[in-house]
């Protein structure tokens, strides 16, 4: 053990889905985080309740890089079905821990091999037989704790959080962890170089998942109505609303200022949200790709009738059923022009958990200000994995309810107003909502042709005039949506564009390109569509631009090419989609390979 490798490696734990290993894995992740070491965890799980192989990968990185890595230095195998593959996946010089009841011959000699008596120690645990499989996972937590140097006190903190302070559950898990650790102390001789040591790099961070953050953001955004239909990986967003709304948004006498309704399908979910949005409520729905496809017709109605609504798309890989538990950024092109006829939609692209919170409230302000559907594109990686993130920040601006006229406003106008009239020249009309008792308040909403006063018309000129106003409104959105995050290098003429959950891989690749190849790059993380002037300026300044995204077709590249055709020859796609979050190595290699051809 001459060359110790500290706080810079990846651990993969291979188990069987439904065996309860998630508790053990997240306990490890959280304990490492509490040790002050930058860490990330990716749950690579099947669409199945019980029985299929599942992997959890943890990356510890002293420099703070949190993108997924393909390379695994430490592998823990509890699943005979994936054993051979898991064994093969260990990097030379790495460590392989396995449950000793798996009797598959091990022929590798270039790695350290550590058997663990998982079954025997689980049997010895003081729990009911039904909990034995579950508690067995804690054996590897104990063995790893000793072999890698994970602090027991931090493990205890992680368990305390997970079991919400329930001392019996904490104690019985801890006992098994100790048993695993004690066994390792007596029986294993550490020969691999990997270990962890405390740092102080995480004290300004919290750990959360994007769906929780999105729900909380929506609540701070004044969410009043949410309708949803269960779908992986979006369900926990709505479920988080149900957890936090009662804590944050009930009046002193226990009354609700909100309603959350589980609809019969996604058609109804968005329909209800649009009804509520038309009624003057801050309304949202949350879904994933298949749900988005079902919501297409209703989205067009909201766009054309100009109803504010927020739609969260926690993307999974498609088309069709696809891989429901695997991530992708494959819905961008669909969402951008969802529904038939002419239109583009406002899209927010959170790139961190903190941004899931921020865009959670901001989306309502934009939707009501613009009177249009606002989509927020998260994905399974952001939505369901635990990430270290900056704490959530209280909204810096008050609610923007947009141009709503109430009785007193109409009185001042002598009741003269037009629902679809561009009075202010920004393409955004005024609206009234039901319950307004002024005799000029009412209007009849519809997806059919209408004039400035919301009257039905099939007049050709009126139709086109209205559609051009909607286009103008989209231009107004351009100055309101979140601006990109840009980092320039003074000597670079090559740019990288990225968005959403692919950002950590692209940011790390940028560092690797410079460190390993001296390749300097400028960097832009796009946070919204329509593109802002900053996006356009950045693009104009580059000689070549790599657009990094987790989809097959380079969807952001397609969109940017269509809106900036003169810039399109600069664009190179670094797109890849296999259901897993992108890695920095892949991004770096893809850019280098292309640069060699230029």
């Amino acid at each position: 053990m001459e060359n110790k490798i500290i706080n810079n490696f990846s651990i993969t734990i291979a188990t069987v889905n439904g065996s309860g290993s998630q508790t053990a894995n997240v306990t490890l992740l959280r304990a490492l985080f509490k040790m002050g070491i930058p860490v990330s965890g990716k749950n690579l799980f099947p669409s199945n309740i019980q029985g299929l192989p599942t992997w959890y990968t943890i990356r510890v990185n002293k420099d703070g890089f949190i993108a997924r890595r393909d390379e695994q230095e430490v592998v823990v195998s509890l699943n005979p079905a994936s054993f051979i593959r898991d064994l093969d996946s260990v990097l030379t010089g790495g460590a392989f821990f396995y449950a000793d009841d798996i009797k598959i011959p091990i022929t590798r000699t270039d790695i350290s091999i550590y058997p663990m008596p998982v079954k025997a120690l689980a049997r010895a645990a003081d729990v009911s037989p039904s909990l034995r499989d579950y508690i067995a996972n804690m054996v590897y937590v104990g063995v790893l704790a000793h072999m890698l140097g994970i602090d027991f006190e931090k493990i205890e903190q992680a368990l305390d959080f997970h079991f919400k302070g329930k001392s019996q559950a904490i104690e019985s898990n801890l006992k098994t962890i100790r048993a695993g650790s004690d066994w390792a102390i007596q029986n294993l001789n550490k020969i691999d170089p990997y270990s962890v040591e405390p740092m102080s790099a995480t004290s300004e961070f919290i750990m959360a998942d994007g769906n929780t953050a999105a729900a909380l953001g929506a609540i701070y955004g004044g969410l009043q109505f949410a309708a949803w239909y269960p779908i992986t990986p979006a369900s926990t967003l709505a479920e988080s609303l149900n957890i936090f709304l009662p804590q944050l948004r009930k009046t002193a006498d226990g009354k609700q200022t909100y309603a959350v309704l589980q609809a019969e399908d996604e058609l109804a979910a968005i329909g209800m949200a649009i009804g509520a949005g038309w009624g003057g409520l801050r309304a949202m729905t949350s879904t994933s790709g298949p749900g988005i496809s079902l919501m297409a017709e209703y989205t067009g109605l909201a766009y054309y009738a100009e109803v504010p609504i927020v739609i969260w798309d926690v993307q999974r890989i498609g088309p069709s059923t696809g891989l429901p538990t695997r991530t992708a950024q494959g819905d961008l092109a669909e969402v951008y022009s969802l529904s038939h006829g002419d239109k583009q939609h406002v899209i927010l692209l959170p790139g961190s958990i903190q941004e899931c919170f921020e865009f959670g409230w901001k989306a309502f302000d934009l939707a009501e200000h613009l009177q249009t559907p606002v989509f927020v594109l998260s994905d399974l990686d952001l939505g369901m994995n635990q990430w270290m993130t900056r704490p959530f920040e209280y909204p810096e601006s008050p609610l923007d309810r947009g141009k709503v006229l109430w009785e007193a406003d109409l009185e001042k106008l002598n009741g003269v107003w037009g629902r679809y009239k561009d009075s202010d020249g920004d393409g955004i009309p005024y609206r009234t909502v039901p319950g307004n008792k002024h005799s000029s308040a009412a209007w009849f909403g519809r997806g059919a042709g209408h004039d400035e006063n919301a009257r039905y018309t099939e007049d050709a000129g009126t139709w086109e005039h209205n559609m051009l106003r909607l286009k103008k409104k989209y231009d107004t959105a351009r100055i309101l949506v979140p601006k990109p995050v840009i980092e320039r290098h003074k000597d670079a003429d090559i740019g990288i564009i990225v968005y959403g959950s692919s950002s950590p891989a692209a940011e790390e690749a940028r560092v690797l390109l410079q460190k390993e190849k001296g390749q300097k790059t400028n960097f832009m993380r796009v946070r919204s569509l329509p593109y802002t002037s900053e996006v356009q300026n950045f693009i104009k300044q580059q000689k070549r631009i790599y657009i990094v995204e987790a989809n097959r077709d380079g969807q952001m590249r397609q969109i940017l090419s269509s809106v900036m055709p003169d810039q399109a020859p600069k664009f190179r796609s670094a797109c890849h989609s296999d259901g897993l979050p992108l890695t920095a190595r892949w991004v770096k290699n893809t850019i280098l390979a292309q640069e060699e051809k230029e």
Binding site: G221, A268, K437
Partner: protein
């Protein structure tokens, strides 16, 4: 020349004209137009303030009709078959408002059947009128899901499939108010509308409304002639607002009437015809609909009512002030909560 009689003002201080809509663009003689007239009459007679009604519809001839009544009410003409969800969400905006939805048989029984049944099972507080003519009018005469077996249509041939019975579907979905009527029976339509407007919860009115253009052959179930010849009212129905109870009860001799108390204190009086029908029994209702189908009767009247089931929006224990009038202090948690929330994360 004599001066026209001054328009009569109701207790809301409004005249009947205040309840009208735009001129209808439907075919002349369309059953839907007479239903619109009865909605106007019912709201006027019940002293409803038009601004306190929301109108909803889907797509189709029927769904155009909300434009032809209650001009001073908010309305939303949504998507084909999706009025149920649109209205369900809108009902939360201001629970002091009443809602009227107008749908058709294509809208409700074909494309929107799933959503319809879920709206019904949630007991969403809405008067849901199905203007049922057994045919797609706006697309020029295709079969709808309520068309009877054997119906012949010009370009479609003969319908081979059993019809969907909207009242039966409503009952099966635990509707709390189910009625059937015939657009040609204006008085009954109006009285049923009044009862429905007083009902707390979902009120489904399946109104056979002949299509004079595409489905009005004398032998067709959804025609005027057939309806007039085959209508078998369960009872003569009369709606008595809470305040008028005493003066009107005398119209019905003792022993032949059944009173149904509505949630708002008003009463629906059902005058017994030849048979004694109890609209508070779901089993009776199913049996009656089954018999009607077997015997080819168009049975009209109040088929089922249950005033006790909880209403969708009541289940949520909402604040009394309409949700859409809440402001930032009601809607955004206070700044000190954010530290607590961050502390709840790991």
């Amino acid at each position: 020349m004599t001066a026209p009689a001054p328009a009569q003002t109701n207790k809301a201080g409004l005249v009947k004209n205040d309840y009208r809509g735009l001129p209808s663009t439907l075919c002349s003689g369309c059953g839907h137009n007479s239903i619109a007239s009865q909605i106007i009459a019912a709201c006027y007679e019940m002293d409803i303030i038009p601004e306190e009604i929301m109108k909803f519809s889907g797509i189709g001839c029927s769904s155009k009709s909300p434009a032809y009544f209650l001009n001073r009410s908010f309305g939303f003409n949504g998507l084909h078959g999706r009025m149920s969800s649109l209205a369900t969400g809108a009902l939360f905006a201001d629970t002091h408002l009443r809602a009227i939805g107008i749908s058709g048989d294509g809208d409700t029984a074909s494309i929107g059947l799933g959503g319809f049944k879920h709206m019904v099972r949630r007991n969403a507080p809405i008067v849901y009128v199905v203007e049922n003519n057994g045919v797609y009018g706006l697309t020029k005469g295709q079969f709808s899901a309520t068309a009877e077996v054997g119906l012949n249509l010009k370009h479609q041939g003969t319908n081979q499939y059993m019809p969907v019975d909207i009242c039966m579907e409503s009952l099966a979905s635990n509707a709390t108010f189910v009625a059937r009527s015939f657009a040609g029976d204006a008085k009954q339509v109006k009285e049923l509308l009044k009862a429905a407007l007083s009902h707390r919860g979902v009120a489904v009115l399946d109104i056979i409304s002949p299509c004079v253009t595409f489905n009005n052959e004398d032998n067709a179930l959804h025609s005027y002639t057939w309806g007039k010849d085959h209508e078998a009212p369960l009872h003569e129905i009369s709606f008595i607002p809470a305040l008028d109870e005493i003066e009107l009860i005398g119209e019905f001799p003792e022993g032949t009437v059944r009173e149904v108390a509505m949630h708002d204190g008003s009463t629906v009086i059902l005058k017994k015809l030849e048979k004694d029908y109890d609209p508070t029994s779901r089993a009776n209702a199913f049996q009656m609909l089954e018999d009607a189908q077997k015997n080819d009767w168009l049975v009209t009247g109040l088929i089922f009512i249950d005033e006790k089931k909880p209403v969708l929006t009541d289940i949520y224990n909402l604040v009394d002030i309409p949700l859409n009038r809440l402001t930032m202090s009601d809607l955004r948690p206070s700044p000190e909560t954010i530290a607590k929330i961050n502390a709840m994360m790991f």
